[in-house]
Symmetry: C2
Subunit: 448 residues, 2 copies
Amino acid sequence: MIDYWCELAWLGGPAAEAGVLISLQDDRILSIRPGCGAPPPGATVMPGLTLPGFANAHSHAFHRALRGRAQASTGSFWTWRDQMYAIAESLDPDTYHRLARATYAEMVRAGITAVGEFHYVHHQPGGRPYASPNAMGEALIAAAASAGIRLTLLDTCYLHGGLSAGGYSPRRGPQLRFGDDSSAQWAERTTQSTSSAMVRMGAAVHSVRAVDPDAIEVVAGVADENRWPVHVHLSEQIAENEQCLAALGATPTRILDDAGLISARLTAIHATHLAADDIGALGSSAASCCCCPTTERDLGDGIGPAPALAEAGSAICLGTDSHAVIDPFEECRALELDQRQVSHRRGVFDSHSLLAAGTSAGYDSIGWPEGGRLAAGGLADFITVGLDSVRMAGTGAATALPAAVFAATAADVRQVVIGGKVVVRDGAHVSIDVRAELHSSIAAVSTP
Amino acid sequence: MIDYWCELAWLGGPAAEAGVLISLQDDRILSIRPGCGAPPPGATVMPGLTLPGFANAHSHAFHRALRGRAQASTGSFWTWRDQMYAIAESLDPDTYHRLARATYAEMVRAGITAVGEFHYVHHQPGGRPYASPNAMGEALIAAAASAGIRLTLLDTCYLHGGLSAGGYSPRRGPQLRFGDDSSAQWAERTTQSTSSAMVRMGAAVHSVRAVDPDAIEVVAGVADENRWPVHVHLSEQIAENEQCLAALGATPTRILDDAGLISARLTAIHATHLAADDIGALGSSAASCCCCPTTERDLGDGIGPAPALAEAGSAICLGTDSHAVIDPFEECRALELDQRQVSHRRGVFDSHSLLAAGTSAGYDSIGWPEGGRLAAGGLADFITVGLDSVRMAGTGAATALPAAVFAATAADVRQVVIGGKVVVRDGAHVSIDVRAELHSSIAAVSTP
């Protein structure tokens, strides 16, 4: 048994508790005792604010190579996509593994203890499967294991190149390697992967642009049968809605609903441009919605209806998606701050709701409902935020939650424990030189 | 003569230059030589990206005590103002000095080398002047001097408590100490202050809510006579526009224009809710506009028309205002990212325009036009951003500007030189324990 004594810890309520003793047994929390004035003998002392680890519910690990590069240019989501495709085309299992390992290590360093990887770069350039058909997914699993992060591999069905009034167009160029020939082939390949203590499987529909309604039904069936979470990119761009309406005569949400994908198992990623009926369909089924605020800002997606979705019954979780930055505090506050700019009202979401979005709601979304909260029996995944930086100075017990949510950065994370193991100590990853590995792995895939 | 050899430096163009030798004489830049492959003997080597120092064109130093506290609550701009007033009421020259010194030191640590302090807490609680009528302004000047930051003290005229259809109401409660009895008294008091090598004076009109048109004319005259910059809070809230229209029959911008305040000497702070004519009036006079994006997000002000103002002829500069965070990189990118959310277009402002907003445009706005650029003859105020954090890893010469603007944080600033003197070395202030001074100075003014 290992004991951690936390100066302050958030146990899910509106304020932090002082003097919290967390006892671990293997990878689980055995007990939580608040109100322990002093650390008992042998306990590891955690100065600062201890939180459950953040779940990054939506990640494309390889997008990390675009940071700085994609921001050098102007244009739209669609011109950004060309840059992203160029990186996607250059990957092989080795470079994908190295880039993902460095990116996951940056996540861990930022306080993210579990990641949902929306994985679609499956096959060789041109589309021929690797000798081991899940070679790319295995590269991600190995990357997560060595970075020490908990992983849900959301294996993504991607069949078509696009959607217009004329119907689905074939995959082309870089898209060739994303897809399987059919939903049956996707199902066969994806169900070969197995879970382990730190890895679970999930399914994903890339979007209504890339997966037709019949295939969406297949994905929904596989997810139900295996009790997997299932994710889908939904209405991030107005153009997607227009294309879908023109081709299929309904909104993307309605298409998903008719195909049986909308359930409490589903997480809709972005959910930015929704009609009132769409919000009702997602909320009444208790589907989760994953906002990716820093990516949505970067891509100019627009500000989605998160408060209405929450009101309708959806849990809101968060993802760093394109990794323009990897900072779960920034995602939490951006969810609220963007809503303030629209509503001219402060406190649409309060601090502890924002922390819940970043932690428990994310763990639920990616299929680890026993994580993302500091509770007896739960996964021993937690982080400690220092209150000793100049940004955080002046923070006390009463203001620790709002100060962390509204002022901390990833650089304020001092300690990270995942599955009972210390992965970040004194702000450094215990086994990976994150900076050096990011540098070399990005250099290996970037065009100059 | 002192030489700094910069691995990369931004000299105002669209990309960073490699191997730049900056030679100083006293507090000035003597020469700039790009393309120096290796550091000459005796030069101080600056690894990373060197930028001109940031100008924080809009600061209320004492608001730093609200960080974390103000974010704990919900409500509106107007309920937030009550919290801010409670701190304002508690200040005296000593606590104001200590809080400002710690806040300015945090700014320097973040790469801010010059600050425009919009100063309105002038008199004793209740309104009686201190024995030395500028005691509070002198406290700020001393604070800036010991923090090593360049200061423009924008002494603010504040005569009335509010504006409604019935006209101006008297100052009340905490407002009593903000104001002078008349614009003449304001002018007499404010012109007693003198400039020095690191301090310049400026004027400010608090807002059309607090200063009537006749008094605005007086402030404009004092600014013109002394060749001071002049600042004004403008149309941050829709309610201000409504009150002004109801009471005076015109928009706040029109009121300022009719009173002779709008000129190239003026900086309009926020300028969020403007009519087309307002934008034309500001732009055609080459008035600057200061956006404070992190504060505007925090207060739910809304997203202003910065691109239209720039198009019309206004320079856009930036301020951290309420210090919800102090991070000039976050302000730069927020200016662009908020516009993307409105326009659904990327690159409304490009990286080097955003850096110019943060540096040269800010120096211009607060009356130091010889600063904010790396140029021979200019002020020796510059900073170096490390490219060695996990956030910045993967950045090279070609991507240094967009990576700094879109991914760096204040914590990435390694070195700061102001007026030729090193004020931050290896990420630490050379003479102030910033964290400890923030902690104690905030504790001294906060109600629990």
